[in-house]
């Protein structure tokens, strides 16, 4: 069992795999996500980064915060680039030209994963490349100022689907990436959240150690575009779990296991309030939208519990 102390020693120093001097927004949880995930690998890690917040803020020439081999090509292909790196690794190792053992991590935001990078991800999972795909999910295109993505939740106002006289924001529910990933019959899929460092670290360990592809989806509240006080990032992450909006669970060799079951699930309003993207839902006349959201969350949770209980394999 890892401890916070062990993890802290791996992430805090100048010899950690990602270091200070990056330009994430003050209070952005992506820093905590990536440093803790990288620390979970007991082998050197090669990172393949999709275009997005993480890529932009960590490498503004001539500065890079990466202390591990890293590459960015374009927006939609982190999984395909990872597939190429993994193939090169296998080939060069087989030919005796390299010796080191490594882990390969592809990482993207929800835009680069749920949307534009979806095909490349699916292809790489189907071909069973040995790599982990990490998505830091801030529920929209936050790098460019809050445009809608396939991960944006129902009811959220975004700049491309704004709330207005005739619109309450996004009319569709978000895509369930974890289950879609699991449908590829890969050895490990995990859903984690930035505030739960130990759970995140353990899931990252399992992902790195899996024999074959792994997918790790991590909720990452965006202080800038959900517009809350930067000190509250971890609180919003916690609330997402405590409301069952973002259950912490994993699918290991197809078997679902829920890691945290809130004893008293909080109403979804607790998570929504204080976020600018949901502000309009609290206006008179919009109560039914919150109610609909609550029902969807409860239904999804009940469904997840049933799958877990049944023991049926994905």
């Amino acid at each position: 069992m890892p401890t916070l102390q062990e993890i802290a020693l791996k992430t805090a120093g100048v010899d950690a795999r990602i270091v200070s001097g990056h330009r994430m927004c003050a209070g952005c949880g992506i820093g905590a996500v990536i440093k803790n995930v990288l620390a979970a690998s007991d082998k050197p890690v090669i990172v393949l980064n999709a275009t997005g917040c993480l890529e932009v803020v960590t490498t503004i020439y001539p500065f890079t915060a990466w202390n591990t081999p890293w590459m960015h090509l374009t927006f939609e292909n982190a999984a395909a680039v990872a597939a190429g790196v993994e193939s090169a690794y296998k080939s060069l190792k087989r030919r005796g030209r390299i010796e080191s053992d490594i882990n390969i991590l592809a990482v993207g935001g929800d835009g680069g994963t749920y949307d534009i990078g979806f095909q490349a991800l699916s292809g790489a999972l189907e071909r069973k490349h040995n790599f982990m795909y990490l998505v830091y999910d801030n529920e929209g295109y936050m790098n460019t100022g809050n445009q809608r993505s396939g991960a944006t939740p129902f009811g959220a106002s975004t700049t491309t689907v704004p709330a207005g006289k005739f619109s309450f924001g996004k009319p569709q529910w978000r895509k369930n990436l974890v289950e879609i990933a699991a449908a590829h019959r890969i050895p490990y899929v995990g859903q984690a959240a930035v505030h739960n460092t130990l759970d995140l670290y353990k899931k990252a360990q399992k992902g790195f150690n899996a024999d074959g592809p792994a997918v790790l989806a991590v909720l990452q509240p965006c202080t800038t575009n959900w517009s809350f006080d930067p000190a509250l990032t971890m609180q919003y992450s916690k609330l997402a779990v405590e409301t069952n909006f973002w259950p912490l669970y994993e699918i290991e060799s197809g078997v679902v296991h829920i890691n945290t079951k809130p004893s008293n699930r909080k109403p979804i309003e607790e998570f929504l309030k204080g976020q600018s993207r949901f502000k309009h839902l609290f206006r008179a006349g919009n109560e039914h939208i919150i109610a609909e959201m609550q029902k969807m969350i409860d239904d999804e949770w009940a469904r997840l519990l049933k799958i877990e209980e049944s023991g049926i394999q994905f």
Binding site: A12, S20, G21, A26, G29, F63, W66, T233
Partner: protein, 116 residues
Amino acid sequence: MSERKTWQEVELGVELPAATSLGYKTGGWRVLRPVWNASECIHCMICVGYCPDMAIPVVKSEEGVTGKGGRVFKGAVRLETNLNYCKGCGICAHECPSKCLSMVREEEAEQASCKL
């Protein structure tokens, strides 16, 4: 940044050596400064795990350091926040279970410590 490179000097294939961002001090972004009261700290490492800027140094201490209630904490212990990089988000202070961190307006902290 020193003198900018010419086209003859830039790296082949835009390949950067690792960790050069340590030369970019994001501490200048800070509006609020975390003030750490070491005597109230329990070295739980929650702030370290959360710090988005990797701005809280941690060392392994055999002899230990004195923290809350005069207790000696051994193993991984945190040090003073590295203000070269801390952007002052306040997550550490907000999440600290022993309330050993507080956020103070940078201008006041600076004037108080006569560092102008």
